[in-house]
Symmetry: C2
Subunit: 482 residues, 2 copies
Amino acid sequence: MPPWGCKPLYDTLAETMNVATHELRCIDCGARIAGSAVNSIFRCPTCNGLYDVIYPWSSIPNGDTPASDSKLPNASALRWLWQERRTSSLPEDQSGVWRFRDLLPIIDDPEKVVTLREGNTPLYDLPRCARIAGIDWLLAKHQGMNPTSSFKDTGMTAALSVAQERGFEWVACASTGNTSAAMAAYAARAGMRSIVFIPEGKIAWGKLSQSMDYGALTIQLKTDFDGCVNVLTDLVNRFPIMLLNSVNPYRLEGQKTPAFELLEQLEWQVPEHVIVPGGNLANSSALAKGFTEIHHLGLIHRMPKISIIQAEGANPLYRTIEENGGKELIPVKANTRASAIRIGNPASWKKALRALRTTGGWCEQVSEQEIALAKAEIGAEGVGCEPASAVTLAGLKKLVAQGKVGREERTVLILTGHTLKDSDYTINYHRDELFTDAENAQLSAAEKAEHAALRKPPIVLEADTNVVYRELESHMKLAQQV
Amino acid sequence: MPPWGCKPLYDTLAETMNVATHELRCIDCGARIAGSAVNSIFRCPTCNGLYDVIYPWSSIPNGDTPASDSKLPNASALRWLWQERRTSSLPEDQSGVWRFRDLLPIIDDPEKVVTLREGNTPLYDLPRCARIAGIDWLLAKHQGMNPTSSFKDTGMTAALSVAQERGFEWVACASTGNTSAAMAAYAARAGMRSIVFIPEGKIAWGKLSQSMDYGALTIQLKTDFDGCVNVLTDLVNRFPIMLLNSVNPYRLEGQKTPAFELLEQLEWQVPEHVIVPGGNLANSSALAKGFTEIHHLGLIHRMPKISIIQAEGANPLYRTIEENGGKELIPVKANTRASAIRIGNPASWKKALRALRTTGGWCEQVSEQEIALAKAEIGAEGVGCEPASAVTLAGLKKLVAQGKVGREERTVLILTGHTLKDSDYTINYHRDELFTDAENAQLSAAEKAEHAALRKPPIVLEADTNVVYRELESHMKLAQQV
């Protein structure tokens, strides 16, 4: 209870929540276990598969019917409840994740959630980007507006709440930066200790500063992201540490809630398309789970297509689909400036494949230059994002050009990180120092002109009014001509 | 109207808003003018004083009575209206500024506001910082959780909406970084062009990256912040550019709304203390205006004390109060690592002085080392902030030690910027590279130990499980001993 004495407004309705009634189900062999019985690496001991969190009332994509004893209120009662909670001052109601707690009963006491008031992220319309991409209606759901400035917060509030309830004192993750920032913040909030493993020299400094600031023990390993995962997997078998990479299925329960929030913001009208960046591939999986559950519950009557965009230099899912139809993952040596998706061996590839197939979406890849251009275009709308987020717009352009997305199809980009997450990238781009000469030489004249029109390098001038006056005059004349 | 067709929920009540009924009133000579008649430098042509925005229903601190023809709904109707708007999907209702538009009728059509869904920032309790400061109850209102990651967004949504309504195509500001980021984003949102003047080499790079990303024309002048203000003041007299520094009184109308939001989050229970960083001094002024207006309207029955904390190296208000009792500003050559408050000649010093006197708060100064320590302490709560925000906690410690704030007094720190706003500072602090040897030599052994306990420099290790195992073992043992 907060010290200023506000009271739960909806005690009675909150009891409709089915407390701790979840199970975990292996996505490969289908084996079910109690949530509390899971091993430290969150993988099926029989077949090494990942788990889904399932509930008595939840359908699973491959076809089970929900348990008939579901106590969940009906669709309109849920919508009303979620809306009303927005007027409450309680932390669990002000959280954009726990406001939907009826659909993630993974802890016993929702008053004890570890929250930084994540979620409640804005939905922006992007009229100029829509025009560039060639469609009528484009929105961005900006998950970079979360407390630690990335979408990972929605997952960490869920997983840290479970870790706290189960008595863990230590948590750990391997990270390209965003995961570690989120984990460190939520662990600090819960009074827990956190360890982050980061590939040495390959992450954005801004992100590393966050894990230090939030008091994590930061260990840079002389390897890449996938190497960090390997070391960490060994360690959680030997220490009482909860593993907080996205194999932890509780993270995905939090990360599914932006689907609910998005639908609520659209007054429950389903967009045709949702486009997500593809790194470790848990985000697309989580959103698909959210849409699927809410479809099953009858709050929406059709599913949006979910498409996944990868960087050309970190395209294991794209290659897997192209080269073997999704049978077996083709890991790659990841190399892209979009550090948040620099992942060559993504843990959740099967879940992501399921999301693509269930919803009828596509997987596409985009070049480094396409990412940079799209990032600048999103920035010029006054919105901004980190490079990895911009693959969504770059991918949309391709999907439209290929005729896969029609002009009239309503599309939502999921922006995953704030522009401040990687300010070096932005600065280098605008100073034209991001790409090598060899890379720039590959651009056509038209492409070069597109970049040049967006670049805004700072101008250094003497602090003399007349000098500045002349400079401004030339810019204003230029603007009039445009 | 957004294309997905949601409808204004509260048409009727929204009409209670007194459209464009404001005037500007000089804080020095009291002269009143229509808002549309103001000059380009937003200063009284008679006495060069700054303006307050005033309304028929608003009281002014020096004693006028409100006009009797006020059409404003009563206190409980307003509270209900503001709460209900939280359930709406309209941009102007989802904005934490325009949700309170009844108290800032500065534009004719609230459907045309330029908004990034600013405001709605979290209120965190800081139990460990409270213990460190020696009080029972400490909260942080985190304005760094705004779209461009600083409190400036609440002001820019207001000022840009006015600029758009008045037909300006260009806007400009001088900035230590946060102002420019916010202005550039809102200008881009409105389809307007923006120019930012930044002191060369003295701002945080993260912030500069934002104004480039949002498409501003960025001009670095070879001078300090105050020099930038001088050049800009000349220019707005010669070009049709709206000046967006905090002399623009419309910015303060937006910046007063966090006071309303804070009170709403506290269920309208007034805290004893609100502590604000002091740079250009508009923020403290704006919050005081917010509290004063809402007090006048009867929504609260007493005022909180508002205290202002400055860095020792940028302490013009502190010196002015200490040395001449607030008679005449003593400008200083500003020098502090807390770049957002590196201002030696603050425009709004008289308004800030009025805020201190009206509310009974204090002005205090804190050292560079005190700022760094407080920043790390706020970070270790999982919250984080930029250096300038941390002066609030550092100042609180001093006020408690001096007996000015009692243990039982409920205190709210206003955190003004996100930790990502200055990641270099964080990295340098944790690596013990922030201060010179001479500075460190001035610390006592106890102070050195305080810093050392908070520092979390990254450890670089080989990607070998056994190596990492041994390292972790030592940290876990250490943690058990603590």
